[in-house]
Amino acid sequence: MANMPQDVGKEAVRAKGWIGAHKWLILRRISQIGILAAFVAGPWFGLWIVKGNLASSLTLDTLPLTDPYILLQAMVSGVTPETAGILGAVIVLVFYALVGGRVYCSWVCPVNMVTDAAAWLRRKLGIRGSSHASRSTRYWVLALTLILPLITGGIVWELVNPVSIMFRGIVFSMGLAWVLVLAIFLFDLLVSRDGWCGHYCPVGAFYSLLSTRAIVRVSAVNREACDDCMDCFSVCPEPQVIKPALKGAAKGVGPVIQANQCTNCGRCIDVCAVDVFQFGNRYSNASKTGIKSGEEYSKHTV
Protein backbone atom coordinates (compact mmCIF):
# COMPACT_ATOMS: atom_id res chain seq x y z
CA MET A 1 0.00 0.00 0.00
CA ALA A 2 1.38 3.36 -1.00
CA ASN A 3 2.17 5.75 1.85
CA MET A 4 1.15 9.39 1.85
CA PRO A 5 3.99 11.74 0.97
CA GLN A 6 3.62 13.30 4.44
CA ASP A 7 4.58 9.98 5.97
CA VAL A 8 7.70 9.36 3.91
CA GLY A 9 10.32 7.47 5.85
CA LYS A 10 8.18 6.77 8.93
CA GLU A 11 8.30 3.06 8.25
CA ALA A 12 12.03 3.22 7.70
CA VAL A 13 12.52 5.00 11.02
CA ARG A 14 10.46 2.31 12.71
CA ALA A 15 12.46 -0.45 11.04
CA LYS A 16 16.00 0.99 11.20
CA GLY A 17 15.94 3.77 13.76
CA TRP A 18 16.24 7.50 13.02
CA ILE A 19 19.96 7.37 12.27
CA GLY A 20 19.59 4.34 10.07
CA ALA A 21 16.84 6.01 8.11
CA HIS A 22 18.84 9.23 7.65
CA LYS A 23 22.37 7.90 7.24
CA TRP A 24 23.04 9.19 3.73
CA LEU A 25 21.16 12.39 4.34
CA ILE A 26 23.34 13.13 7.36
CA LEU A 27 26.50 12.32 5.44
CA ARG A 28 25.38 14.58 2.62
CA ARG A 29 24.68 17.48 4.92
CA ILE A 30 28.09 16.98 6.50
CA SER A 31 29.65 17.05 3.05
CA GLN A 32 27.76 20.15 1.90
CA ILE A 33 28.32 22.10 5.08
CA GLY A 34 31.91 20.84 5.37
CA ILE A 35 32.74 22.13 1.91
CA LEU A 36 31.19 25.50 2.71
CA ALA A 37 33.07 25.57 6.01
CA ALA A 38 36.38 24.87 4.27
CA PHE A 39 35.77 27.87 2.03
CA VAL A 40 34.69 30.28 4.76
CA ALA A 41 37.30 29.19 7.30
CA GLY A 42 39.78 31.46 5.53
CA PRO A 43 37.84 34.70 5.45
CA TRP A 44 36.15 34.14 8.81
CA PHE A 45 38.87 32.58 10.93
CA GLY A 46 42.06 33.03 8.93
CA LEU A 47 42.33 29.29 8.31
CA TRP A 48 43.21 29.21 4.64
CA ILE A 49 42.39 25.63 3.69
CA VAL A 50 40.69 26.54 0.45
CA LYS A 51 40.74 29.78 -1.49
CA GLY A 52 38.28 30.85 -4.16
CA ASN A 53 34.86 29.36 -4.70
CA LEU A 54 33.23 26.54 -6.64
CA ALA A 55 34.10 28.21 -9.95
CA SER A 56 37.77 27.74 -9.22
CA SER A 57 39.71 27.16 -6.05
CA LEU A 58 43.08 26.35 -4.65
CA THR A 59 43.25 23.88 -1.76
CA LEU A 60 46.19 24.08 0.63
CA ASP A 61 47.96 26.23 -1.95
CA THR A 62 48.54 23.19 -4.14
CA LEU A 63 45.44 21.46 -5.44
CA PRO A 64 43.62 23.46 -8.13
CA LEU A 65 39.97 22.65 -8.79
CA THR A 66 37.94 24.34 -11.49
CA ASP A 67 34.32 23.92 -12.49
CA PRO A 68 34.57 22.48 -16.01
CA TYR A 69 31.18 23.88 -16.96
CA ILE A 70 32.09 27.46 -16.13
CA LEU A 71 35.52 27.07 -17.71
CA LEU A 72 33.84 25.71 -20.82
CA GLN A 73 31.67 28.83 -21.00
CA ALA A 74 34.81 30.96 -20.77
CA MET A 75 36.50 28.95 -23.47
CA VAL A 76 33.51 29.26 -25.77
CA SER A 77 33.76 33.00 -25.36
CA GLY A 78 37.33 32.72 -26.57
CA VAL A 79 39.87 32.50 -23.74
CA THR A 80 42.81 30.21 -23.27
CA PRO A 81 42.92 29.34 -19.58
CA GLU A 82 46.06 29.02 -17.48
CA THR A 83 47.47 25.56 -16.85
CA ALA A 84 46.18 25.59 -13.26
CA GLY A 85 42.69 26.30 -14.56
CA ILE A 86 42.77 23.47 -17.09
CA LEU A 87 44.34 21.00 -14.67
CA GLY A 88 41.71 21.90 -12.07
CA ALA A 89 38.92 21.25 -14.55
CA VAL A 90 40.37 17.90 -15.62
CA ILE A 91 40.61 16.71 -12.01
CA VAL A 92 36.98 17.67 -11.43
CA LEU A 93 35.86 16.07 -14.70
CA VAL A 94 37.52 12.75 -13.94
CA PHE A 95 36.21 12.68 -10.39
CA TYR A 96 32.59 13.22 -11.36
CA ALA A 97 32.80 10.99 -14.40
CA LEU A 98 33.67 8.16 -12.00
CA VAL A 99 31.41 8.82 -9.02
CA GLY A 100 28.45 10.20 -10.99
CA GLY A 101 28.18 13.78 -12.19
CA ARG A 102 25.20 14.71 -10.13
CA VAL A 103 27.05 13.81 -6.98
CA TYR A 104 27.91 17.48 -7.40
CA CYS A 105 24.23 18.25 -7.00
CA SER A 106 23.54 16.20 -3.93
CA TRP A 107 26.86 16.37 -2.10
CA VAL A 108 28.32 19.76 -3.02
CA CYS A 109 25.86 22.28 -4.47
CA PRO A 110 24.52 24.67 -1.81
CA VAL A 111 21.21 25.11 -3.65
CA ASN A 112 20.44 21.49 -2.88
CA MET A 113 19.82 22.33 0.77
CA VAL A 114 17.32 24.97 -0.29
CA THR A 115 15.48 22.76 -2.75
CA ASP A 116 15.50 19.82 -0.34
CA ALA A 117 13.95 22.06 2.29
CA ALA A 118 11.28 23.17 -0.18
CA ALA A 119 10.58 19.56 -1.17
CA TRP A 120 10.31 18.52 2.47
CA LEU A 121 7.90 21.33 3.30
CA ARG A 122 5.92 20.56 0.16
CA ARG A 123 5.46 16.97 1.36
CA LYS A 124 4.58 18.03 4.90
CA LEU A 125 2.02 20.59 3.72
CA GLY A 126 0.70 18.19 1.13
CA ILE A 127 1.16 20.73 -1.65
CA ARG A 128 0.45 19.24 -5.02
CA GLY A 129 0.29 20.74 -8.46
CA SER A 130 3.27 21.34 -10.62
CA SER A 131 4.26 23.33 -13.66
CA HIS A 132 4.30 21.68 -17.02
CA ALA A 133 7.88 22.30 -18.09
CA SER A 134 9.60 19.22 -19.36
CA ARG A 135 12.57 17.80 -17.49
CA SER A 136 14.58 18.19 -20.66
CA THR A 137 14.24 21.97 -20.49
CA ARG A 138 17.51 22.04 -18.54
CA TYR A 139 19.41 20.67 -21.52
CA TRP A 140 18.02 23.48 -23.64
CA VAL A 141 19.10 25.95 -21.00
CA LEU A 142 22.50 24.28 -20.97
CA ALA A 143 22.79 24.72 -24.72
CA LEU A 144 21.70 28.33 -24.38
CA THR A 145 24.39 29.06 -21.80
CA LEU A 146 27.01 27.74 -24.19
CA ILE A 147 25.68 29.59 -27.23
CA LEU A 148 25.29 32.99 -25.57
CA PRO A 149 29.02 33.36 -24.78
CA LEU A 150 29.66 32.70 -28.44
CA ILE A 151 27.34 35.52 -29.48
CA THR A 152 27.98 38.04 -26.73
CA GLY A 153 31.58 37.20 -25.88
CA GLY A 154 30.74 37.18 -22.16
CA ILE A 155 29.94 34.44 -19.65
CA VAL A 156 26.33 35.47 -19.60
CA TRP A 157 24.97 32.71 -17.40
CA GLU A 158 27.32 33.57 -14.54
CA LEU A 159 25.56 36.91 -14.16
CA VAL A 160 22.48 35.09 -12.95
CA ASN A 161 23.50 31.52 -12.09
CA PRO A 162 21.95 30.90 -8.65
CA VAL A 163 24.42 28.12 -7.89
CA SER A 164 27.43 30.42 -8.29
CA ILE A 165 25.73 33.44 -6.81
CA MET A 166 24.58 31.62 -3.71
CA PHE A 167 27.93 29.98 -3.04
CA ARG A 168 29.82 33.21 -3.72
CA GLY A 169 27.36 35.01 -1.50
CA ILE A 170 28.20 32.75 1.42
CA VAL A 171 31.95 32.71 0.79
CA PHE A 172 32.39 36.37 -0.18
CA SER A 173 29.37 38.49 0.64
CA MET A 174 25.68 38.15 0.10
CA GLY A 175 24.35 41.30 -1.53
CA LEU A 176 20.91 40.49 -2.83
CA ALA A 177 21.80 36.83 -3.39
CA TRP A 178 19.27 35.84 -0.73
CA VAL A 179 16.49 37.09 -3.00
CA LEU A 180 17.48 34.52 -5.58
CA VAL A 181 17.67 31.80 -2.93
CA LEU A 182 14.23 32.71 -1.64
CA ALA A 183 12.89 32.74 -5.20
CA ILE A 184 14.10 29.20 -5.81
CA PHE A 185 12.69 28.04 -2.48
CA LEU A 186 9.26 29.50 -3.20
CA PHE A 187 9.28 28.26 -6.78
CA ASP A 188 10.03 24.71 -5.67
CA LEU A 189 7.57 24.91 -2.81
CA LEU A 190 4.59 26.48 -4.51
CA VAL A 191 4.98 26.25 -8.26
CA SER A 192 6.79 23.14 -9.27
CA ARG A 193 8.00 20.04 -7.47
CA ASP A 194 11.80 19.83 -7.91
CA GLY A 195 11.27 22.79 -10.21
CA TRP A 196 14.71 24.35 -10.29
CA CYS A 197 17.02 21.32 -10.10
CA GLY A 198 14.78 18.94 -11.96
CA HIS A 199 13.78 21.20 -14.82
CA TYR A 200 15.95 24.25 -15.34
CA CYS A 201 19.38 24.10 -13.74
CA PRO A 202 21.99 23.81 -16.52
CA VAL A 203 24.71 23.01 -13.99
CA GLY A 204 22.89 19.85 -13.00
CA ALA A 205 22.27 19.14 -16.68
CA PHE A 206 25.96 19.49 -17.48
CA TYR A 207 27.00 17.22 -14.64
CA SER A 208 24.39 14.65 -15.57
CA LEU A 209 25.84 14.46 -19.09
CA LEU A 210 29.20 13.92 -17.48
CA SER A 211 28.05 10.86 -15.61
CA THR A 212 26.75 8.76 -18.49
CA ARG A 213 29.37 6.09 -17.76
CA ALA A 214 29.76 6.73 -14.02
CA ILE A 215 30.86 3.74 -12.01
CA VAL A 216 29.20 4.49 -8.69
CA ARG A 217 25.47 3.88 -9.03
CA VAL A 218 22.55 3.14 -6.78
CA SER A 219 21.13 -0.32 -7.31
CA ALA A 220 17.80 -1.83 -6.38
CA VAL A 221 19.58 -5.03 -5.44
CA ASN A 222 16.85 -6.27 -3.21
CA ARG A 223 13.94 -5.31 -5.43
CA GLU A 224 11.93 -8.47 -4.76
CA ALA A 225 11.42 -7.13 -1.26
CA CYS A 226 9.72 -3.93 -2.51
CA ASP A 227 6.29 -3.59 -0.89
CA ASP A 228 5.15 -0.67 -3.08
CA CYS A 229 5.13 1.88 -0.28
CA MET A 230 6.24 4.44 -2.88
CA ASP A 231 8.43 6.24 -0.35
CA CYS A 232 11.43 6.26 -2.68
CA PHE A 233 9.35 7.87 -5.43
CA SER A 234 8.07 10.51 -3.03
CA VAL A 235 11.48 11.43 -1.78
CA CYS A 236 13.56 11.17 -4.95
CA PRO A 237 14.27 14.46 -6.74
CA GLU A 238 14.31 12.56 -10.05
CA PRO A 239 11.67 9.88 -9.45
CA GLN A 240 11.52 8.87 -13.11
CA VAL A 241 14.93 7.19 -12.79
CA ILE A 242 13.76 4.63 -10.25
CA LYS A 243 11.08 2.78 -12.14
CA PRO A 244 13.17 0.88 -14.71
CA ALA A 245 15.53 -0.44 -12.05
CA LEU A 246 12.91 -1.18 -9.42
CA LYS A 247 10.14 -2.52 -11.58
CA GLY A 248 12.02 -3.78 -14.63
CA ALA A 249 12.65 -7.34 -13.41
CA ALA A 250 9.81 -8.76 -15.48
CA LYS A 251 11.22 -7.12 -18.59
CA GLY A 252 14.68 -8.38 -17.80
CA VAL A 253 16.10 -4.99 -16.83
CA GLY A 254 18.97 -4.98 -14.35
CA PRO A 255 18.59 -3.40 -10.89
CA VAL A 256 21.18 -0.63 -11.33
CA ILE A 257 19.80 2.89 -11.67
CA GLN A 258 21.49 3.79 -14.93
CA ALA A 259 19.86 7.12 -15.65
CA ASN A 260 22.38 9.89 -15.38
CA GLN A 261 19.88 12.22 -13.71
CA CYS A 262 20.13 10.19 -10.50
CA THR A 263 22.05 12.36 -8.07
CA ASN A 264 23.45 9.49 -6.00
CA CYS A 265 21.98 11.19 -2.97
CA GLY A 266 21.08 7.88 -1.39
CA ARG A 267 17.76 9.10 -0.01
CA CYS A 268 16.02 6.10 -1.58
CA ILE A 269 18.37 3.85 0.40
CA ASP A 270 17.58 5.68 3.65
CA VAL A 271 13.89 5.81 3.21
CA CYS A 272 13.26 2.21 2.26
CA ALA A 273 12.16 0.16 5.25
CA VAL A 274 12.97 -3.12 3.57
CA ASP A 275 16.41 -2.09 2.27
CA VAL A 276 15.79 -2.47 -1.43
CA PHE A 277 18.50 -0.03 -2.49
CA GLN A 278 22.25 0.02 -2.04
CA PHE A 279 25.20 1.86 -3.45
CA GLY A 280 26.90 -0.34 -5.98
CA ASN A 281 28.61 -0.09 -9.29
CA ARG A 282 27.45 0.13 -12.86
CA TYR A 283 28.72 -3.35 -13.71
CA SER A 284 26.95 -5.56 -11.22
CA ASN A 285 23.76 -5.17 -13.13
CA ALA A 286 22.84 -8.74 -13.90
CA SER A 287 19.11 -9.12 -13.78
CA LYS A 288 18.08 -12.32 -12.13
CA THR A 289 15.60 -12.90 -14.90
CA GLY A 290 17.80 -11.60 -17.37
CA ILE A 291 19.03 -10.19 -20.51
CA LYS A 292 18.66 -6.51 -21.04
CA SER A 293 20.42 -3.65 -19.26
CA GLY A 294 18.49 -0.57 -18.17
CA GLU A 295 19.78 1.38 -21.12
CA GLU A 296 18.43 -1.13 -23.58
CA TYR A 297 15.19 -1.04 -21.68
CA SER A 298 14.92 2.70 -22.05
CA LYS A 299 15.84 2.49 -25.73
CA HIS A 300 12.90 0.18 -26.20
CA THR A 301 10.42 2.24 -24.29
CA VAL A 302 11.26 5.85 -25.17
Binding site: G42, A55, L71, S77, P81, T137, T152, V156, S164, L176
Partner: protein, 287 residues
Protein backbone atom coordinates in the same frame (compact mmCIF):
# COMPACT_ATOMS: atom_id res chain seq x y z
CA UNK B 1 -5.46 -2.54 -33.53
CA UNK B 2 -2.60 -1.57 -35.80
CA UNK B 3 -4.49 1.56 -36.75
CA UNK B 4 -5.09 2.74 -33.22
CA UNK B 5 -1.48 1.98 -32.47
CA UNK B 6 -0.43 4.17 -35.37
CA UNK B 7 -2.69 7.02 -34.38
CA UNK B 8 -1.44 6.81 -30.81
CA UNK B 9 2.08 7.01 -32.15
CA UNK B 10 1.27 10.03 -34.27
CA UNK B 11 -0.39 11.74 -31.31
CA UNK B 12 2.71 10.98 -29.31
CA UNK B 13 4.87 12.37 -32.07
CA UNK B 14 2.73 15.50 -32.31
CA UNK B 15 2.81 15.91 -28.55
CA UNK B 16 6.55 15.46 -28.58
CA UNK B 17 6.95 18.08 -31.29
CA UNK B 18 4.72 20.62 -29.52
CA UNK B 19 6.50 20.18 -26.20
CA UNK B 20 9.87 20.46 -27.88
CA UNK B 21 8.78 23.56 -29.73
CA UNK B 22 7.29 25.10 -26.61
CA UNK B 23 10.45 24.43 -24.65
CA UNK B 24 12.67 25.72 -27.42
CA UNK B 25 10.61 28.90 -27.66
CA UNK B 26 10.58 29.64 -23.95
CA UNK B 27 14.30 28.97 -23.67
CA UNK B 28 14.82 31.19 -26.70
CA UNK B 29 12.89 34.01 -25.05
CA UNK B 30 14.93 33.49 -21.92
CA UNK B 31 18.05 33.81 -24.08
CA UNK B 32 16.92 37.11 -25.53
CA UNK B 33 16.11 38.39 -22.04
CA UNK B 34 19.50 37.30 -20.78
CA UNK B 35 21.13 38.95 -23.76
CA UNK B 36 19.50 42.28 -22.96
CA UNK B 37 20.25 41.89 -19.28
CA UNK B 38 23.92 41.32 -20.10
CA UNK B 39 24.00 44.47 -22.17
CA UNK B 40 22.76 46.45 -19.22
CA UNK B 41 24.68 44.58 -16.56
CA UNK B 42 27.94 44.92 -18.39
CA UNK B 43 28.06 48.70 -18.16
CA UNK B 44 30.67 49.04 -15.46
CA UNK B 45 30.25 52.11 -13.25
CA UNK B 46 33.13 54.59 -13.73
CA UNK B 47 34.48 54.27 -10.21
CA UNK B 48 34.93 50.51 -10.39
CA UNK B 49 38.45 49.80 -11.59
CA UNK B 50 39.56 46.34 -12.72
CA UNK B 51 42.66 44.72 -11.19
CA UNK B 52 46.02 44.94 -12.98
CA UNK B 53 46.35 42.95 -16.17
CA UNK B 54 42.59 42.80 -16.74
CA UNK B 55 41.75 42.23 -20.38
CA UNK B 56 39.70 44.89 -22.16
CA UNK B 57 36.25 44.89 -20.58
CA UNK B 58 34.40 42.83 -23.23
CA UNK B 59 37.08 40.15 -23.24
CA UNK B 60 37.36 40.27 -19.50
CA UNK B 61 33.69 39.40 -19.06
CA UNK B 62 34.19 36.32 -21.17
CA UNK B 63 37.35 35.25 -19.43
CA UNK B 64 36.70 35.89 -15.74
CA UNK B 65 34.97 32.91 -14.16
CA UNK B 66 34.30 34.89 -10.97
CA UNK B 67 36.30 32.65 -8.67
CA UNK B 68 37.64 35.49 -6.56
CA UNK B 69 41.11 33.97 -6.37
CA UNK B 70 42.56 37.35 -7.32
CA UNK B 71 40.69 38.98 -4.48
CA UNK B 72 41.86 36.31 -2.06
CA UNK B 73 45.50 36.70 -3.00
CA UNK B 74 45.61 40.48 -2.87
CA UNK B 75 47.63 41.21 0.28
CA UNK B 76 45.95 44.60 0.69
CA UNK B 77 42.42 43.19 0.39
CA UNK B 78 41.38 45.90 -2.01
CA UNK B 79 39.60 43.68 -4.53
CA UNK B 80 35.89 43.00 -4.24
CA UNK B 81 33.54 40.86 -6.28
CA UNK B 82 30.41 42.43 -7.71
CA UNK B 83 27.29 41.23 -5.90
CA UNK B 84 23.78 40.76 -7.07
CA UNK B 85 22.20 44.20 -6.80
CA UNK B 86 25.46 46.05 -7.52
CA UNK B 87 26.05 47.82 -10.80
CA UNK B 88 29.09 45.64 -11.32
CA UNK B 89 28.66 42.42 -13.32
CA UNK B 90 28.05 39.90 -10.58
CA UNK B 91 31.10 38.11 -9.26
CA UNK B 92 33.67 40.08 -11.25
CA UNK B 93 36.55 41.74 -9.36
CA UNK B 94 37.04 45.48 -8.98
CA UNK B 95 38.48 48.05 -6.64
CA UNK B 96 37.49 51.58 -5.67
CA UNK B 97 40.54 53.81 -5.81
CA UNK B 98 39.34 56.38 -3.29
CA UNK B 99 38.89 53.85 -0.52
CA UNK B 100 41.34 51.15 -1.53
CA UNK B 101 43.83 51.80 -4.30
CA UNK B 102 46.06 49.14 -5.80
CA UNK B 103 49.40 49.18 -4.01
CA UNK B 104 51.20 47.93 -7.10
CA UNK B 105 52.80 44.78 -5.65
CA UNK B 106 55.97 43.97 -7.50
CA UNK B 107 55.12 40.27 -7.82
CA UNK B 108 51.48 40.99 -8.79
CA UNK B 109 49.89 38.13 -6.81
CA UNK B 110 46.41 38.89 -8.11
CA UNK B 111 47.46 38.16 -11.68
CA UNK B 112 49.32 35.00 -10.69
CA UNK B 113 46.23 33.66 -8.93
CA UNK B 114 43.92 34.02 -11.91
CA UNK B 115 43.24 30.60 -13.46
CA UNK B 116 41.90 31.86 -16.75
CA UNK B 117 44.13 34.68 -17.97
CA UNK B 118 41.30 37.14 -17.40
CA UNK B 119 44.14 38.91 -15.65
CA UNK B 120 46.75 38.56 -18.33
CA UNK B 121 49.70 36.50 -17.12
CA UNK B 122 52.00 38.17 -19.61
CA UNK B 123 51.93 41.21 -17.34
CA UNK B 124 55.06 40.80 -15.22
CA UNK B 125 56.04 44.41 -14.67
CA UNK B 126 53.41 46.15 -12.57
CA UNK B 127 54.54 49.51 -13.93
CA UNK B 128 53.26 48.39 -17.32
CA UNK B 129 49.77 47.74 -16.00
CA UNK B 130 46.97 50.03 -17.16
CA UNK B 131 44.12 49.68 -14.71
CA UNK B 132 42.77 53.07 -15.64
CA UNK B 133 43.98 56.61 -15.99
CA UNK B 134 44.16 59.34 -13.37
CA UNK B 135 42.57 62.61 -14.38
CA UNK B 136 42.84 65.92 -12.56
CA UNK B 137 39.19 66.42 -13.04
CA UNK B 138 38.17 69.28 -10.78
CA UNK B 139 40.36 72.28 -11.42
CA UNK B 140 38.04 74.51 -9.44
CA UNK B 141 38.65 72.69 -6.21
CA UNK B 142 42.16 71.31 -6.63
CA UNK B 143 44.01 73.76 -4.42
CA UNK B 144 47.11 73.68 -6.62
CA UNK B 145 45.09 75.65 -9.13
CA UNK B 146 44.46 78.29 -6.47
CA UNK B 147 48.18 78.75 -6.10
CA UNK B 148 48.50 76.78 -2.88
CA UNK B 149 51.26 74.20 -2.52
CA UNK B 150 49.81 70.72 -2.19
CA UNK B 151 51.56 68.17 -4.37
CA UNK B 152 50.21 65.28 -2.32
CA UNK B 153 49.09 63.35 -5.37
CA UNK B 154 52.44 63.99 -7.00
CA UNK B 155 54.32 62.78 -3.96
CA UNK B 156 52.44 59.53 -3.41
CA UNK B 157 52.64 58.41 -7.01
CA UNK B 158 54.88 55.38 -7.33
CA UNK B 159 55.88 56.72 -10.75
CA UNK B 160 56.41 60.26 -9.59
CA UNK B 161 57.73 62.54 -12.29
CA UNK B 162 56.79 60.00 -14.96
CA UNK B 163 53.10 59.35 -14.47
CA UNK B 164 52.46 62.66 -12.83
CA UNK B 165 54.49 65.85 -13.06
CA UNK B 166 54.13 69.34 -11.66
CA UNK B 167 53.78 71.96 -14.30
CA UNK B 168 54.96 75.38 -13.12
CA UNK B 169 52.68 78.15 -14.29
CA UNK B 170 52.45 81.86 -13.65
CA UNK B 171 50.05 82.77 -10.89
CA UNK B 172 47.99 85.54 -12.40
CA UNK B 173 46.11 86.15 -9.20
CA UNK B 174 49.02 87.14 -7.02
CA UNK B 175 51.27 88.08 -9.91
CA UNK B 176 54.41 86.92 -8.14
CA UNK B 177 53.89 83.25 -7.24
CA UNK B 178 53.83 80.06 -9.26
CA UNK B 179 51.10 77.48 -9.61
CA UNK B 180 52.30 73.88 -9.29
CA UNK B 181 49.78 72.18 -11.50
CA UNK B 182 49.63 68.35 -11.38
CA UNK B 183 49.62 66.84 -14.86
CA UNK B 184 49.06 63.12 -15.50
CA UNK B 185 50.76 61.39 -18.41
CA UNK B 186 48.92 58.49 -19.92
CA UNK B 187 52.06 56.80 -21.20
CA UNK B 188 53.18 56.07 -17.64
CA UNK B 189 50.13 56.21 -15.33
CA UNK B 190 49.10 52.73 -14.22
CA UNK B 191 45.74 53.80 -12.85
CA UNK B 192 46.58 52.46 -9.41
CA UNK B 193 44.60 55.22 -7.75
CA UNK B 194 47.09 55.98 -5.01
CA UNK B 195 46.82 59.65 -5.97
CA UNK B 196 43.04 59.61 -5.76
CA UNK B 197 43.21 57.97 -2.36
CA UNK B 198 45.69 60.56 -1.13
CA UNK B 199 43.97 63.69 -2.44
CA UNK B 200 43.40 65.94 0.56
CA UNK B 201 40.05 67.28 -0.56
CA UNK B 202 36.77 66.12 0.88
CA UNK B 203 36.16 64.56 -2.52
CA UNK B 204 39.19 63.90 -4.68
CA UNK B 205 39.97 66.38 -7.45
CA UNK B 206 42.13 63.75 -9.11
CA UNK B 207 40.26 60.58 -9.99
CA UNK B 208 41.09 57.34 -11.73
CA UNK B 209 38.70 56.39 -14.50
CA UNK B 210 38.63 53.38 -16.78
CA UNK B 211 40.94 54.36 -19.64
CA UNK B 212 38.17 54.39 -22.22
CA UNK B 213 36.31 57.01 -20.19
CA UNK B 214 39.35 59.06 -19.31
CA UNK B 215 40.89 59.38 -22.72
CA UNK B 216 39.78 61.44 -25.66
CA UNK B 217 40.63 60.44 -29.18
CA UNK B 218 41.81 62.60 -32.05
CA UNK B 219 40.29 62.35 -35.50
CA UNK B 220 42.44 59.76 -37.19
CA UNK B 221 43.41 62.12 -40.01
CA UNK B 222 44.69 64.68 -37.55
CA UNK B 223 48.42 65.47 -37.49
CA UNK B 224 50.34 67.83 -35.26
CA UNK B 225 52.59 69.91 -37.48
CA UNK B 226 55.44 70.16 -35.02
CA UNK B 227 55.47 66.43 -34.37
CA UNK B 228 55.52 65.67 -38.08
CA UNK B 229 58.29 68.23 -38.48
CA UNK B 230 60.30 66.51 -35.75
CA UNK B 231 59.76 63.11 -37.33
CA UNK B 232 60.76 64.29 -40.79
CA UNK B 233 63.64 66.40 -39.51
CA UNK B 234 62.32 69.39 -41.43
CA UNK B 235 59.19 71.34 -42.03
CA UNK B 236 56.78 69.48 -44.26
CA UNK B 237 55.45 72.62 -45.92
CA UNK B 238 57.72 75.13 -47.70
CA UNK B 239 58.28 77.95 -45.26
CA UNK B 240 56.76 81.25 -46.30
CA UNK B 241 59.09 83.76 -47.84
CA UNK B 242 59.96 86.48 -45.45
CA UNK B 243 56.79 88.39 -45.01
CA UNK B 244 56.46 92.11 -44.97
CA UNK B 245 53.93 93.07 -42.36
CA UNK B 246 52.52 96.48 -42.08
CA UNK B 247 53.15 96.88 -38.38
CA UNK B 248 53.61 99.90 -36.13
CA UNK B 249 57.09 100.87 -35.14
CA UNK B 250 58.74 98.69 -32.53
CA UNK B 251 56.59 95.65 -33.36
CA UNK B 252 57.84 92.59 -35.28
CA UNK B 253 56.26 89.35 -36.37
CA UNK B 254 58.15 86.08 -36.22
CA UNK B 255 56.25 83.65 -38.36
CA UNK B 256 58.01 80.42 -37.40
CA UNK B 257 58.61 81.32 -33.82
CA UNK B 258 57.14 83.55 -31.20
CA UNK B 259 54.59 85.34 -33.29
CA UNK B 260 53.97 88.98 -32.41
CA UNK B 261 56.96 90.58 -30.65
CA UNK B 262 56.73 93.99 -29.11
CA UNK B 263 60.24 95.44 -28.81
CA UNK B 264 59.22 98.63 -27.09
CA UNK B 265 56.21 99.37 -24.97
CA UNK B 266 53.77 101.58 -26.91
CA UNK B 267 53.69 105.10 -25.55
CA UNK B 268 51.69 105.46 -22.33
CA UNK B 269 48.06 106.26 -22.65
CA UNK B 270 47.01 109.40 -20.85
CA UNK B 271 45.51 107.21 -18.15
CA UNK B 272 47.48 104.93 -15.94
CA UNK B 273 46.19 101.42 -15.54
CA UNK B 274 46.31 101.97 -11.80
CA UNK B 275 43.23 103.98 -10.74
CA UNK B 276 45.13 105.28 -7.70
CA UNK B 277 47.40 107.24 -10.04
CA UNK B 278 44.42 109.07 -11.47
CA UNK B 279 43.13 109.85 -7.99
CA UNK B 280 46.56 111.09 -6.88
CA UNK B 281 46.94 113.25 -9.97
CA UNK B 282 43.54 114.75 -9.27
CA UNK B 283 44.76 115.58 -5.79
CA UNK B 284 47.94 117.16 -7.24
CA UNK B 285 45.89 119.24 -9.71
CA UNK B 286 44.00 120.82 -6.84
CA UNK B 287 47.13 122.39 -5.48
Amino acid sequence: MAESDNSRKSINRRQFLTTTLKTACSVGIMGVGLGFYTQRANALPPMAIRPPGALPEEDFLGACIRCGLCARDCPYDILFLGQLGDDIPSGSPYFIARTGPCEMCEDIPCVKACPTNALDHSLTDIEKSRMGLAVVIDQENCIAFQGLRCEVCFNVCPLRDKAITLDLQHNRRSGKHALFIPVVHSDACTGCGLCEKACILEKAAIKVFPTNLAKGELGHHYRFGWKEKEKAGKALVTPDVKHQYNLPEGVRYDLQGEGLIIDKKPSDSPFSSNPLDTLNRKAEDKD
